[in-house]
Amino acid sequence: MALDTAAVRADFPIMCREVHGRRLVYLDSAATSHKPRPVIDAVTDYYERFNSNVHRGSYQLAVEATEALEEARRKVANFIGADQDSEIVFAKNATEAINLVARTWGRANLGPGDPVVITELEHHANIVPWHMLAAEQGIELRWIPIRSDGHLDLTDLDRLLDGARLLSVAAVSNVLGTINPIRQLADAAHDAGALMMVDASQYTPHLPTDVKEMGADFVAFTGHKMCGPTGIGVLWAKPELLEAMPPFLGGGEMILNVTKEGFSTAAVPWKFEAGTPPIAEAVGLGAAVDYLTGLGMEQVREHEVALTGYALRTLNQRYGDDITIHGPTEPAERGGVLSFEYKGIHPHDVAQVLDRSGVCVRAGHHCAKPLMRVLGCAATSRASMYVYNDESDVDALADALGEADVFFIE
């Protein structure tokens, strides 16, 4: 059954607001999604009814707060097809989750000359942690190139993976929308003796996620792009890897025992969750997972494919050669992220003009500067869609875009 967008919009209180006297046309969900009423209520409810610290109090409130945190972990585990709740490590966001792997598994297992393979379409979150390990431990960073159609160029994959220790790839590009062949890449990595990490930040909010089907060893994603609060992200990893990895940050929560001489670590996953965790945020993420499950992730994806197809058709028909939309042309091969260039007008200026009509798009390098270099531009405008968007939002974008001509086209 198709998504009832009108009903979905009614779940998101922010959709009622106006911008510059116009209705809000929010097309920046790849940056962050809005939050539905049940998520906002879950966070409020947590603070109003059972706020307390977790895993230490023996009183009723603390028991309830701990249960709420662990219940959220259970929901996330179910949502992504994990076998056990303990495979879910809560982090601040996907960036922290990837850094956790680099700082713990990477530091313990990688040395000078050890290759880590990434791709040209990665977000900085999956580039800079490896640059840091290159500077500190001398690892070698290798890059899978992209083709002009926005897909990865896997011609030299075997050579790039030769001797590699880790392949780390975004499941969906936050700029091009490209859906990468994760299972194929994971199998190739494993055949070469490397581990596979997936940055699922743009995937999990939009497509049914099954970490076992992906064939991954590590999967990172963030809560705020999937209707959850900011400040909560997830690292999923295979249990044996989490067991063997050294801890990340040191402090409370992550210890079993501390003496003047040293410490021993708590069990997985708490070993990686030093300090008071983002409890309300985790509870909110649990509610977000329930919300998306209620919509049905198959329906969420179906809606995205249909709306992406409509957007590609509408913009191309209206503007023809005046608009260049990057990435795959086939909606089934991509997410609802449309990076575009319009008549050579700088994206900052495009976004400024669109804002006047209440249309929110992102302008800039989208934290993917190496990809921008490959595309041969310093920045793009990016419209990205989610469950609350419909054809009228695409039409509003198309209408407002032409208004840029007044200022920039002589």
Partner: protein
């Protein structure tokens, strides 16, 4: 919201479409400096040739939005042939106009200008203040020029 016409004044769009002093200079004798706006990816490259405390020549390059490109163009036209001291006055007046680091000893008059410096074309950028996100676009070239001139003076 403030009118976009306040931001995209005709003189700004003219400098954007027909930039003055766009290009490169030989280094040395010129000094080259790069400025980045990490938020949006805009980059500006300034070449400046300073001799005896005078900005003898200036060129700029890089990629950016209409505001950053126009600001670079206007700045280059304003400071070319001026002394480094005059540049500092321009810089101060421009930053005051952009509402940055108000100087308590020298409060900006209501017309947005400080001191007796005539900003000329640059005055057109006053509308940018109403769009706070864009202030960095307008000031990037000034930061970069300051850096280049400091380097040029350190070299001499």
């Amino acid at each position: 919201m403030p009118d976009l016409e306040d931001l995209y004044r005709e003189i700004i769009l003219d400098h954007y479409r027909n930039p003055r002093n766009r290009g490169e200079l030989d280094t040395p004798p010129a000094v080259r400096a790069e400025g980045f706006n990490p938020l949006c990816g805009d980059e500006v490259i300034i070449y400046v040739q300073v001799a005896d405390g005078v900005i003898e020549d200036i060129k700029f390059g890089g990629q950016g939005c209409s505001i950053s490109q126009a600001s670079s163009s206007m700045m280059s036209a304003a400071v070319k042939g001026r002394t480094v001291e005059e540049l500092q006055q321009f810089n101060h007046a421009f930053r005051s106009m952009m509402s940055i680091e108000p100087d308590p000893d020298n409060p900006a008059p209501t017309n947005g200008n400080s001191a007796d410096v005539k900003l000329g074309d640059l005055e057109a950028l006053k509308g940018v203040v109403k769009f706070p996100v864009r202030i960095k676009c307008a000031t990037l070239s000034w930061h970069t020029l300051t850096q280049a001139v400091e380097e040029a003076q350190a070299n001499s």
